[in-house]
């Protein structure tokens, strides 16, 4: 055995023992510096090769190189082991109480009235309706007279109108009692064909369990040369089945009276009452159940067309109107009309809708 082999074996044994003993990365690094660092034992051995006799150098170089390779590999191997140990120790020490309540969710809500209007607009838009609107403070003419409700008409009594102060000329503005004045505004300013819906605020001086001084209606108007009551039925049946999401929703139209339509009808939808309360549609095949009045409608009265300078011999069409709160109450099981306007946060959060729940996007 040469002197180099003796040195190598001694250093090798010593270093491998130190590497095996190293129990953390710092100690291991010390071993690396002490062996392979600038002044390390192996580095020194490698340097010493130059001082040997030329015939010895080759053999010594081979011996020390293999030592260096062996130690380098042992260091790397040990480093990997220690890192793995360190990581599992770290993971073992790092925990979170996953039962902690989450950070507060900032989500707000959309009011059921807005949501319901959105749903209705989406359905009617598919039938070619566009949204029209008008002022809440209206002339007596637009709210009543033009709609064929002259001053002493008994229908006026049913409207419980809010009045603004009398003007110098004796006229009085009113808070619109329905959305129908927008029919007048539209027909006066546009020519047929007309196809509008008018969602909006309406006002009547009445307050009890089933009346609110402010509520919302949606009005519809179709004027062209050939729309008749068959279309009226088709349009409103499609709407109700779509809105309430009941494909076989039973409906009926029965004669009624509104000054601004002739013939006039009210539309009922089928419902059933059982232990669970009111349900839109009929249960199973029994067909039994009640009717719920849902909207008023009819062919636009020729007098109304005349009042808007539209020729009733050439043009005709239908109009309808329904209460938005009532539709929302029926669809979403909201029990009390008055709560819509009380702004109780608990109510608004419970009955409200997510900003992302967009009827247009999800197909109403």
């Amino acid at each position: 055995m040469s002197a180099q082999e003796v040195d190598r074996d001694k250093i090798r044994e010593q270093l491998l023992a130190e590497i095996a003993r190293a129990d953390d990365l710092e100690v291991l690094e010390d071993v690396r510096v002490a062996s392979l660092g600038r002044n390390g034992t192996i580095t020194s051995l490698m340097k010493s090769v130059g001082q040997l006799e030329p015939q010895e150098r080759k053999e010594a170089g081979r011996i020390f190189n293999s030592l260096k390779q062996e130690i380098t590999a042992a260091l790397a191997n040990k480093q990997e082991q220690l890192k793995a140990l360190q990581l599992s120790a770290r993971l073992a020490s790092e925990t979170v109480d996953i039962t902690l309540p989450v950070r507060q969710d900032p989500a707000g809500t959309i009011h059921p009235i807005s949501q319901t209007i959105d749903e209705m607009v989406t359905i009617f838009a598919q039938m070619g309706f566009v949204v029209a609107d008008g002022p809440h403070i209206e002339s007596d003419f637009n709210n009543f007279t033009a709609l064929n409700i002259p001053p002493e008409h008994p229908a006026r009594q049913e409207h419980d109108t809010f009045y603004l102060p009398e003007k110098e000329d004796g006229s009085r503005l009113v808070l619109r009692t329905h959305t129908s004045p927008v029919q007048i505004r539209t027909m006066v300013s546009q020519s047929p064909p007309i196809r509008i819906i008018v969602p909006g605020r309406t006002f009547r001086a009445d307050y009890d369990a089933t009346h609110s001084p402010m509520f919302h209606q949606i009005e519809g108007l179709v004027i062209d040369e050939e729309t008749h009551m068959g279309h009226l039925k088709g349009c409103l049946i499609d709407f109700c089945r779509n809105f309430f999401d009941v494909d076989d929703l039973p409906v009926r139209f029965r004669p009624s009276y509104f000054p601004f339509t002739e013939p006039s009808a009210e539309m009922d939808i089928g419902c059933s009452r059982d232990s669970g309360g009111l349900k839109i549609g009929r249960q199973g095949n029994s067909g039994a159940g009640d009717w719920l009045e849902i909207l008023g409608c009819g062919m636009v009265n020729p007098r109304v067309l005349q009042n808007c300078n539209i020729d009733p011999q050439r043009y005709q069409g239908f109009a309808f109107g329904l209460g938005i709160e009532r539709a929302a109450m029926l669809k979403y099981g909201i029990p009390d009309l008055r709560t819509f306007f009380e702004s109780d946060l608990r109510w608004l959060r419970h009955y409200g809708f997510s900003a992302l729940d967009m009827p247009g996007a999800v197909g109403a």
């Binding site: 707000g108 009594q157 009398e166």
Partner: protein, 798 residues
């Protein structure tokens, strides 16, 4: 309008069942509101006789009765004082549902004695409040028979909701006519006769209206009856009046009520001995008073028609008779009034006086002018039949209006308007059955409008008449196709803007509220006040009396109410109207919102924080962004309105328009509205946001730089009064090409910073475009930033 089935059958010969009749009524436009099928309600109750009654062994006040119902005998424990041997009463067997107490009867043991049924009081039967004892039936009541049928109480009561146009159906006969036309039976003919009278009436009718105003009462007739006996009316009248909720009073009064409901012909009877002189139809004089039959005093005005004698008003025409000349048991001589009135005058008088009488209800809807004559005939006949006596000749004043309206119905119009082909002869038959007397002329149907149908105006009304009877349900439905000419977007810019703002604000955590358009004028005073033009003349309450000048007070009231209910940190928004003027343009579409108390409430994850003006600023900017406003061009000024805290609020301006306000609410507003602060809010005027000019949906080309950005931090010391925005702007503008972003990450006052100064920590992002930045270039940029800040704001690097 209420009536009973047997009453209907008095005018309509029909085999139709109750269900068929009520279904048909609804489908004719005479909507059935309620059916009280008393035959079904009272079906279990039998006439029974108490064959023995003895003392209950264990209770002083109870008796053990044996009730015989013909086929069987039952032991009944009864507490009524009049339960005694021999009497006949109403027996409820086990299983009966007792209408008055809403209890289903079960076998029971009362103090150890079995009870197998019940003897009922009137209250228990739901027919009166009488509960002093059990019902006692007369001796001839047939044992074992159904009690209701025997007592005439099995007549179903039907109530319909009348639309205001169908005054003719405020009578049982009018309803029968519609049903007959719809094929549900035959309309029975009315007996025709005219009574001549045997003497001259000592009371005459006179008219005294100003010229031109005679239409207030165009025509009135009357008749004097002597030696009548005002007894009780016959049972068939009493039963039916009771069934519809009227109290039988005396034959004379019951006859007038009967005719009001039976034929829709209100009329009035005066005690002739209490009338002084003749009767005059005239307008009341200002200040005249009358005590009505309802015992109330009414003050009359010059627009109300009265029936007056020498001493003054004895009745309010078409509305209510006077108490003074009313008939009672001792009435001997009677004067009958049968008049026509102007519906509008009646409606006005009734409304002003607050009287909703059965007469007003019919007169204001319009009655058949011919009813003056036939009404007087039928009333005469009934008075003579039930009360005896002698009738005078007719007296009258005025003239019956001759209204014979001929209208034309083109058969094609029916198809045009309804989309359904109704055979011509069927249309004619329907019109004939309704009394329109149709005649064909040149292919058109000419009709004479019946005098009782004041609602028939034009061709469309005739189409409705035909269709109503033919059946709305027979119209085939047709899909409404999306028209070709009608493919515009369903919402216009402003409407879409409102929707986007709603979704955007609710995504930011605000909860949408919908509040009344009217608020308390005392609140409005704090929000810019309100003009008289926007004050309601008839508010439902004093705290909802003006149109709101701002949405904030509505939301503030809502916040205070929630706080009072113990709900912490309420936060709302509303997109709705505010009212600056009473014109259409004066109604503004505003998005407003409010946050209160804690922005971040107590939570394990971090410190709590109160809301501040900058929260409201963020909401306002988000609303503006969603509404399409060019947010980068918006400028801030410190001139928010008076309801904001002057030092913690601002206005958002675009050019010369103020697009909105934000900030903390003024402490005195909070105090007045009793809301707990801090509360911050914003208002954004959606109608002022400019519409985007470009119609293109394309976005500008994105250029992503290939070189890495360089980040440098600066801390500047500036005077406290210097706006942060001034410093940020100076930084931004120092080298607009190179500086990509400026981020204010720290604002600090306190230890280490001179009093009156603040330190602003700013991170600047430098974005090289062509080549990487050298150290010199970076230093040069830093220097120009420091120089710019110093020059513009006097700030120095820390």
């Amino acid at each position: 309008m209420k009536f009973t089935l047997s009453w209907l059958k008095y005018h309509l010969a029909t085999d139709a069942s109750l269900d068929e009749i009520t279904d048909k009524l609804t489908m004719l436009g005479l909507e059935v509101e309620a059916v009280d099928d008393r035959a079904a309600t009272f079906a279990p109750f039998l006439i029974g006789q108490v064959i023995s009654a003895c003392q209950h062994p264990n209770a002083d006040r109870l008796r053990l009765c044996t009730v015989d119902t013909g086929g069987a005998q039952y032991q009944v424990v009864c507490g009524a004082p009049n339960a005694r041997e021999g009497i006949k009463g109403v027996f409820a067997p086990i299983g009966s549902f007792i209408p008055g107490t809403e209890v289903t009867l079960k076998p029971s043991k009362i103090r150890g004695e079995e009870s197998h049924g019940m003897l009922c009081s009137e209250k228990e039967m739901g027919i009166s409040d009488e509960h002093g004892g059990i019902i006692e039936l007369p001796g001839d009541a047939p044992i074992g028979e159904k009690w209701a049928a025997w007592a005439g109480l099995d007549d179903p009561v039907i109530e319909i909701a009348l639309t205001p146009n169908r005054g003719d159906c405020a009578s049982v006969r009018g309803i029968a006519r519609d049903l007959a036309a719809a094929g549900l039976g035959e309309l029975s003919p009315l007996p025709k006769s005219s009574e001549l009278g045997s003497f001259e009436s000592p009371i005459k009718w006179k008219h005294d209206f100003p010229p031109g105003a005679e239409t207030a009462c165009p025509f009135v007739v009357g008749r004097y009856f002597r030696n009548v006996e005002n007894t009780q009316s016959p049972a068939f009248i009493q039963d039916r009046l009771k069934a519809i909720g009227l109290r039988p009073i005396s034959a004379l009064v019951d006859i007038t009520n009967w005719l009001t409901f039976d034929l829709g012909r209100p009329l009035h009877v005066f005690d002739a001995d209490k009338i002084s002189g003749d009767l005059v139809m005239r307008f009341a004089r200002s200040g005249e008073r009358i005590k009505g039959l309802d015992d109330q005093e009414y003050e009359l005005d010059e627009n109300m028609v009265v029936i007056s004698d020498d001493r003054g008003p004895q009745g309010i025409g078409g509305v209510m008779g006077g108490d003074n000349a009313g008939c009672d048991d001792s009435t001997n001589n009677v004067f009958l009034e049968v008049a026509l009135f102007d519906p509008i005058k009646i409606a006005e008088a009734g409304r002003k006086l607050g009287i909703m009488s059965d007469a007003r209800y019919r007169f204001e809807r319009g009655i058949d002018p011919h009813s003056v004559e036939w009404g007087c005939d039928i009333a005469t006949k009934m008075i003579l039949k039930f009360c005896g006596g002698e009738a005078s000749e007719l007296v009258s004043s005025g003239q019956k209006p001759e209204t014979q309206a001929i209208k034309i119905l083109r058969p094609t119009r029916i198809k045009d308007l309804t989309g359904v082909d109704i055979p011509l002869d069927q249309s004619q038959k329907i019109l004939f059955d309704l009394g329109f007397n149709p005649k064909m002329q040149d292919g058109d149907i000419n009709v004479t409008v019946p005098t009782w149908r004041h609602d028939i105006d034009g061709e469309a009304d005739l189409v409705e008449e035909v269709l109503r009877i033919y059946g709305f349900d027979k119209i085939p439905e047709v899909k409404l196709e999306q028209g070709q000419a009608l493919c515009a977007a369903p919402r216009n810019d402003l409407q879409r803007r409102a929707e986007k703002v709603r979704r955007s604000l609710s995504a930011r955590g605000l909860v949408e509220a919908v509040t009344y358009s009217f608020i308390d004028s005392r609140h409005a005073a704090y929000f810019g006040g309100i003009s008289k033009n926007l004050t309601l003349s008839n508010p439902i309450s004093s705290d909802l009396d003006v149109m709101r000048p701002s949405i904030i007070p509505s939301l503030l009231v809502a916040a205070a109410r929630n706080q009072a209910r113990g709900i912490p940190s309420p936060l709302f928004f509303e997109v709705g109207p505010q009212y600056d003027e009473d014109t259409p343009e004066g109604q503004r579409l505003v998005a407003a919102g409010l946050r209160s108390q804690n922005a971040v409430s107590r939570h394990w994850s971090g410190p709590m924080r109160d809301v501040d003006a900058i929260d409201a600023k963020a909401d306002a900017l988000s609303a503006l962004l969603a509404s399409g406003a060019p947010v980068n061009g918006i400028q801030l000024t410190r001139d928010a309105p008076t309801w904001y805290h002057p030092g913690r609020s601002g206005a958002l301006r675009l050019g010369k328009n103020v697009l909105g306000f934000f900030g903390e609410l003024h402490p005195s507003v909070l105090e007045f509205m009793q809301a707990a602060g801090p509360i911050v809010c914003f208002e954004v005027f959606l109608d002022l946001v400019p519409v985007k000019r470009s119609k293109s949906s394309a976005k500008p080309m994105l250029e992503i730089p290939s070189l890495q950005p360089v980040y440098r931090d600066f801390a500047f010391i500036v005077d406290q009064q210097v706006d942060a925005e001034e410093v940020l702007k100076a930084v931004r503008n120092s080298d607009a090409n190179l500086i990509d972003n400026v981020n204010l990450f720290d604002v600090y006052e306190g230890t280490g910073v001179e009093i009156g100064k603040k330190s602003l920590g700013i991170m600047v992002t430098l974005q090289p475009k062509q080549t990487s930045l050298t150290d010199q270039e970076i230093s040069a940029a830093s220097e120009s930033i420091v120089t710019a800040v110093e020059k513009k704001t006097g700030g120095t690097i820390r």
